[in-house]
């Protein structure tokens, strides 16, 4: 699950990281009022679009303002803006900061190392993936022993590698350790501060924060549900998830209903291979019961662009005759309205196909033939 910058900052602040606290507003007049409260002595604020997307600065989603009037005008421009497909509905208004130096500090779940890796760079404030691509030597990496945690000497070594002066090293290491604690304590898969700044008066400040949380760990962080922004998530995907179905919306017109995640991806690929475009990824889960198949059909048909539905079911433990009955029953409950192409193979396949045939539904033996038929059907 992704969360907003201001939410990540709140989480990090709870672990003792100094963040540039501000006020979240959702309308221009709110931005004007927020200016009065946060501008402080410097008399300037920064307004930042809160969307689950990078590239906010380049898109014009971050602006400075020197008066309540300017803040309101800037908010009018940013609110409602589209940033990489995300509509801006909220703004963070925070004090503008006199930046001395900028660093990058991030922690990831490191699949390569099968561990927790800290990354830091003196190239702060820019797209770190770009730094990783072009000048990987400017990124310092340290992998922590998950049973011991991030050790002091590891945090210190990062600080010295970044060229941080000895009097400032202690401040840096305490932020690195706090970030590690926040990462582990929140079951994050990513926690980054970019930039982590040293202000002109030598104070450390997390100017921008980003966190992604492990979906599998959400059951033990009940309080994180409040961080979910329904505007940022696909309603159909959420409905699927609540019912044990994995669903991802895509741009094509051939709806896919498959059992198993790997097979579901392979099915999308087959559709594409034979000249079609998949409308979705859908893993109906193990059982493929009448209820699950019914819901799967509803989820797929929630997209009005769908022109055909391709079922690809491998009956392993689940018998094909049961799946066939499920499909027929589900079709009675849902107004399908588009051609259904079914590929059913595995345990009791002959019986399953006979049941489908009796109901006037054709079925295929191979994935290739079914994918081709679905592409054909979608062309109508």
């Amino acid at each position: 699950m992704n969360i907003h910058e201001y939410q990540a900052a709140e989480l990090l602040a709870n672990y003792g990281i100094p963040v540039n606290a501000g006020i979240v507003v959702s309308d221009p007049s709110g931005a004007s009022r927020a200016f009065e409260r946060v501008a402080g002595a410097a008399g300037r604020v920064v307004l930042k679009a809160q969307v689950h997307s990078g590239g906010r600065g380049k898109a014009g989603g971050i602006k400075l303002a020197g008066s309540p009037h300017d803040a309101q005008a800037a908010a009018e421009q940013i609110l409602g803006m589209d940033i990489r497909g995300h509509t801006v509905r909220k703004l963070l208004v925070a004090p503008a900061v006199e930046i001395g130096r900028e660093y990058y500090l991030g922690i990831i779940l490191d699949r390569e190392k099968r561990g927790i890796t800290l990354m830091a760079s003196a190239e702060g404030g820019v797209d770190i993936e770009e730094v990783a691509r072009n000048t990987p030597e400017r990124i310092i990496k340290v992998t922590a022993d998950p049973l011991l945690g991030l050790l002091d000497y590891q945090a210190r070594s990062i600080a010295f590698s970044l060229g941080i002066e000895p009097p400032l090293v202690g401040g840096f290491t305490s932020i690195a350790k706090a970030l590690y604690a926040a990462f582990v304590g929140s079951d994050a898969t990513l926690a980054e501060i970019n930039p982590l700044v040293l202000t002109k008066d030598d104070r450390w400040l997390a100017l921008d924060s980003k966190m992604s949380l492990d979906d599998s760990a959400l059951p033990r962080h009940k309080d994180f549900e409040r961080l979910r922004d329904l505007d940022e998530e696909n309603a159909t995907e959420l409905r699927a998830k609540a019912n044990g179905i994995s669903f991802v919306k895509l741009d094509g017109n051939i709806g896919c209903v498959v059992n198993g995640a790997g097979l579901a991806m392979a099915t999308m690929d087959a559709v594409k291979l034979y000249g079609g475009e998949p409308a979705n990824f859908l893993d109906v889960g193990g059982g493929a019961s009448v209820e699950q198949v019914t819901l799967a059909l509803e989820l797929v048909l929630a997209d009005p662009g769908v022109r055909a539905i391709l079922f690809n079911i491998f009956g392993g433990i689940t018998r094909c005759d049961i799946v066939a009955k499920g499909i027929i029953e589900a079709r009675k409950r849902v107004d399908v309205g588009v051609p259904m192409v079914i590929r059913l193979v595995g345990t009791n396949q002959d019986e399953g196909r006979r049941i489908l045939g009796d109901a006037g539904l054709s079925s295929f033996e191979t994935m290739r033939d079914a994918a081709r038929a679905a592409v054909e059907a979608a062309r109508g």
């Binding site: 993936e129 990783a132 994995s246 991802v248 790997g262 097979l263 991806m265 999308m268 893993d283």
Partner: protein
């Protein structure tokens, strides 16, 4: 059962027991952790029916009872002491699965297979670090298990689609593996062992570990590797194949049409930060001499041509 001696040094965990037909087979004495749960009870029945020697089960607090005639113990240590269990399969729900893995490993079980899905990644990072320092091998989590056709089925796959033969198969997926096995069997290509290594980002046994075992296994003549988007294990496997695998390898990578940044069912199936795309994996495998099929069934055609 004695853990097999290490026969090569290239694999990341080569000192650990190998698991191909030489290990899972006639000496296997299987323990089912979480045996009284609904899924576990069902699959225990299926495994027994297939001929797998299931010797004991564990559910804390249910010691003294039995499932399909299999005695249930409160602890893994008791099950090992009483029944000589040497392989464990774990069906425990995600919140308790890491503890179950550690209990099996600390009880000295050399091969632990974890079926459970949705274990938090950071739990697995810790578990894996603990397991890595011990002699046990972990397969999974979030995997279908493994099968040596005609000898032992330790997992949730449908047994009858398999046939004993000369192809070794390793995969991150479940039903996609069945699909490929089915195609192999129909093409007259039986399997030595089919291993599901799991769809999570942090898993106990890698492609490389299993590829090394297949390369060393005299029965295995050809290898199938089924990968998918996410991470870079397929790229690492490609580098390993280029250097250390002499047997023909056919591959398939799922998720060519998957968009970046979206989790495709499996926790590990996500393209992020520019890594994990199917095209990169396919290119790496092809560069290493692996023939990559454009459909799951296509791997059977490739191997049939290469082995005959």
């Amino acid at each position: 059962m004695q853990p097999a001696p290490p026969s090569r040094q290239q694999g990341a965990e080569s000192r650990k027991p190998t698991i191909v037909s030489i290990l899972v087979g006639r000496d296997t004495r299987l323990l089912v952790q979480g045996i009284t749960g609904r899924e576990a009870t069902f699959h225990t029945g299926q495994m027994i029916e297939y001929g797998t020697p299931v010797v004991s089960g564990v559910t804390p607090g249910r010691g003294g009872s039995s499932v399909h005639g299999v005695p249930v113990f409160n602890t893994v240590a008791d099950a090992v002491a009483e029944t000589g269990a040497n392989v464990s399969i774990i069906f425990v729900p995600a919140p308790f699965a890491p503890d179950a893995i550690l209990e099996a490993v600390d009880s000295g079980i050399p091969l632990v297979i974890c079926i459970s899905e949705n274990i938090p990644a950071l739990d697995m990072v810790k578990v894996r670090a603990h397991v890595a320092a011990r002699a046990s091998r972990l397969i999974g989590p979030n995997c279908p298990g493994l099968i040596t056709p005609g000898e032992a089925k330790i997992g949730i796959m449908p047994g009858y689609i398999h046939q004993r033969g000369r192809v070794g198969l390793v995969s991150r997926s479940g039903t996609l593996t069945y699909e490929v096995v089915w195609a192999l069997t129909q093409a007259g290509l039986g399997q030595t062992t089919a291993v599901g290594i799991g769809g999570d980002p942090i898993i106990g046994t890698s492609f490389i570990d299993v590829l090394a075992m297949f390369e060393d296994d005299p029965e295995t003549e050809g290898i199938v590797m089924i990968g998918e988007i996410g991470g870079s294990e397929e790229e690492k496997a490609a580098a390993f194949i280029r250097e250390h695998v002499s047997k023909p390898v056919a591959g398939f990578i799922a998720g060519q049409t998957a968009p970046p940044g979206k989790r495709m069912g499996h926790a590990g199936a996500i393209i992020s930060g520019g890594t994990g795309a199917a095209a990169d994996k396919i290119a790496a495998l092809r560069a290493a001499g692996v023939e990559v099929a454009d459909s799951p069934a296509g791997v059977a055609d490739i191997l049939k041509a290469r082995l005959n």
